[in-house]
């Protein structure tokens, strides 16, 4: 019996190892992200390597794959690595995803010890990685930071990110415009956040509140931080079910995430509530984009602040440009856009 069990365990472990090592077919490459916004402060002079003879290494430490955004970012980075293998065969690029913030620190440290030429990282916790980012700078290793800015005073080579605050602001402006056009200038609005402890949730809510706070068009129901939920459909569903009971009348729902919005939408439809006219999401999931393409006039979900994981793809080629001595602005902030049924075809390729 023990032998059989040992054999079963060994087979399970072997299958896991084989599956992990098996190469996956490269997905079809898609178009890269739109052009960056206005240039910020110029970066320090980039090194001038000889790209034809020397080999270079780039280490990429991404975030914890806790949701579709991070999963898609990893897919995009893998696509970039595959494309770079063709365009820049002398550059070896390795990407990893941690399971925990501490593991991310270990991965960054490992890359630095291995002597990578460029370090690309998406900090899970910017304060935690700051000492290692400083160390990389001291060691002369260019660093590219994705999506989460390092603490003030920590040097870096480039920062590439989406703009969560601006995305929240765009959603707020859309909501105010809708209220003024369709609801006689006043509406009851609830905000459903994706986890109040997450910095990006705080940024998105801050952007929304920059429009909503003190605005006579918006009567915000509930706490200023928004009702607590999570970046997944089930959390959105359960939170919205309670919110619907707490408020017999709601006009508009602002959510921090498309997945949250999809769950909240199910709750609204299941409850048969007809008072809610508009819901907005954040992110850019293809499920939402496909809904916009269908353009059902009865659809409550009307818009998404686009926050594309294609910044990961761009970050890889930004790193290669650093090796090639091509200059770029130090901060590359991808502009936020608000995707609706009217413009979804223009941005559909950026969905995930």
């Amino acid at each position: 019996m023990k032998k059989i069990l040992s054999l079963v365990l060994a087979v399970m472990l072997l299958m896991t190892l084989v599956a992990a090592c098996t190469e996956q077919p490269a997905p079809a490459p898609a178009e890269p992200a739109p052009a960056p916004a206005e240039p910020a402060t110029p970066a320090e002079p980039d090194p001038e390597p000889d790209p034809t003879d020397e080999t270079f290494t780039i280490g990429i430490v991404l975030g914890i794959m806790s949701n579709d955004f991070h999963s898609q970012m990893r897919v995009n980075v893998d696509e970039a690595i595959a494309d770079a293998a063709v365009s820049n065969p002398n550059v070896t690029i390795t990407a990893v995803n941690p399971q925990t913030p501490d593991e991310q620190l270990n991965q960054i440290e490992t890359f630095l010890n291995q002597g990578v030429d460029i370090l690309v990282m998406m900090p899970q916790d910017a304060a935690l990685v700051a000492p290692l980012a400083q160390q990389a700078y001291n060691d002369g290793v260019p660093t590219i930071i994705i999506n989460r800015r390092l603490p003030e005073g920590i040097p870096y080579t480039h920062f590439i990110a989406g703009d969560n605050v601006d995305g929240g602001r765009l959603a707020g402006e859309y909501i105010v415009a809708y209220i003024n056009e369709h609801l006689d200038g006043q509406a009851d609005v609830v905000a459903i956040n994706m986890g109040s402890g997450m910095p990006i949730a705080q940024d998105r809510q801050a952007g929304f509140m920059s429009v909503a706070a003190g605005n006579p068009a918006i009567n915000l129901l509930g706490p200023e931080e928004g009702y607590e939920s999570g970046p997944n459909r089930e959390s959105g569903l359960e939170t919205m079910q309670i919110v619907l009971l707490a408020h017999p009348h709601i006009d508009i729902v602002f959510t921090h995430d498309d997945e949250t919005a999809l769950g909240a939408l199910t709750a609204i439809q299941d409850a048969g509530r007809t008072d809610i006219q508009v819901m907005t999401g954040f992110g850019g999931t293809l499920v939402a984009f496909e809904m916009y393409q269908e353009n059902d006039p009865d659809l409550i979900l009307r818009g998404t602040s686009l926050y594309s994981p294609w910044m990961g793809y761009d970050a890889v080629f930004l790193a290669i440009d650093v090796l090639l001595g091509v200059s770029h602005p130090q901060d590359i902030i991808q502009p936020s856009v608000f995707v609706t049924p009217a413009n979804v075809n223009e941005f559909f390729h950026l969905g995930f």
């Binding site: 019996m1 999963s71 359960e238 309670i242 999931t285």
Partner: protein, 327 residues
């Protein structure tokens, strides 16, 4: 007056109260909490809100029922939430497979999901008994493995099934105002409560958890009992998975089932089951689960800042445990 006479003359009402407090303190704590919140926010006590609290308690509540068996035997299961994701992925992939007619895909998906979860539970029990590895380690490792396999199979991305009422209504629908998930929870609680309290198997569960050596020497097949306990836990996870994933007919491999095991363990312990094993009741787990789940409802109904949800949850748990302390 002799002591005997004094005992005989004890106030029967007081005696009844003592009996209720001694045996059902968790229920008293729940009622007290509900009354306190209801005083500050009357909407909290509306029937539809009570039903909603029970609905939201039911999915992890079913998992907690199985967890009760495991913990009474002296074990623990840290894989529950990960197995929800694992079996949920199978559920959605089968249900969403356009090559299978929907009237076949749905029952097939349900059966496969439940079988997978039960099998993993059996594996947990087998590894922890036959190989004498602590259940904490076994279930932790198995949980990590199955989560990783789930992420790998779905490439980390949300997968959707076919959104048809025959499927989504499993998780969203009900009989009148009573959700199916609540009905299933109640049935599972009654069945498992009966098994634990009135069957020989149930007595063996307590015996193994109370004193494993004594149970062994009295002829109880300890390993078999533990494996069955873990299998029951797996079965409960499978049932909960079907109710959970059918609501949205989709699964997020990274987020599905997150922290379910900790909420289930908390419910079991708050409900009076001893982590050392040998003691516990299903009724306690049921009300423990309600206490764990009610926090989010309170936060929204009373419009507390979401930053305080952890403090409120911890406070309720401490309140419940302190109120139940038996000197």
């Amino acid at each position: 007056m002799s002591n005997t006479e004094a005992v005989k003359r004890e106030n029967p009402f007081l005696g009844a109260c003592k009996h209720v407090w001694k045996n059902y303190s968790i229920i008293v704590v729940c009622v007290v909490l509900f009354i306190i919140v209801g005083i500050f926010e009357p909407r909290f006590l509306q029937l539809n809100n009570i039903i909603l609290i029970l609905r939201h308690s039911s999915i992890v509540g079913i998992i907690a029922l199985g967890m009760t068996f495991v913990i009474i035997t002296g074990g623990i299961d840290l894989s529950s939430g990960h197995v929800v994701a694992f079996s949920g992925a199978a559920l959605i992939l089968i249900q969403g497979n356009e090559a299978i007619p929907i009237h076949i895909a749905i029952p097939l998906a349900i059966v496969v999901a439940i079988l997978i979860a039960t099998f993993v539970g059996c594996v947990n029990g087998t590894l922890s008994t036959k190989f004498k590895i602590p259940a904490f380690i076994v279930t932790l490792a198995i949980g990590i493995i199955v989560r990783s396999l789930t992420m790998f199979s779905l490439r980390g991305a949300t997968a959707g099934g076919r959104i048809v009422p025959e499927f989504t209504q499993i998780g969203l629908g009900g009989i009148g105002p009573i959700p199916y998930s609540l009905i299933v929870w109640i049935i599972c609680a009654i069945v498992l409560g009966f098994v634990l309290k009135f069957t020989k198997f149930g007595s063996y569960i307590y015996a193994v958890g109370g004193n494993e050596s004594a149970a062994h020497y009295s002829g109880i097949r300890v390993n078999r009992i533990k494996i069955l306990a873990f299998s029951i836990a797996g079965l409960c996870v499978g049932i909960a998975t079907v109710l959970d994933m059918s609501r949205m007919a989709s699964i997020s491999p990274a987020m599905a089932g997150t922290m379910y095991e900790f909420d289930a363990i908390t419910a079991v312990v708050v409900g009076g089951t001893s982590l050392a094993g040998g003691r516990g009741r299903i009724i306690g787990t049921v009300f423990g689960m309600i206490l764990v789940t009610v926090v989010s409802n309170i936060m929204i109904m009373m419009e507390f800042s979401p930053f305080l949800s952890g403090a409120v949850k911890g406070g309720i748990i401490l309140f419940a445990v302190l109120m139940q302390r038996k000197d």
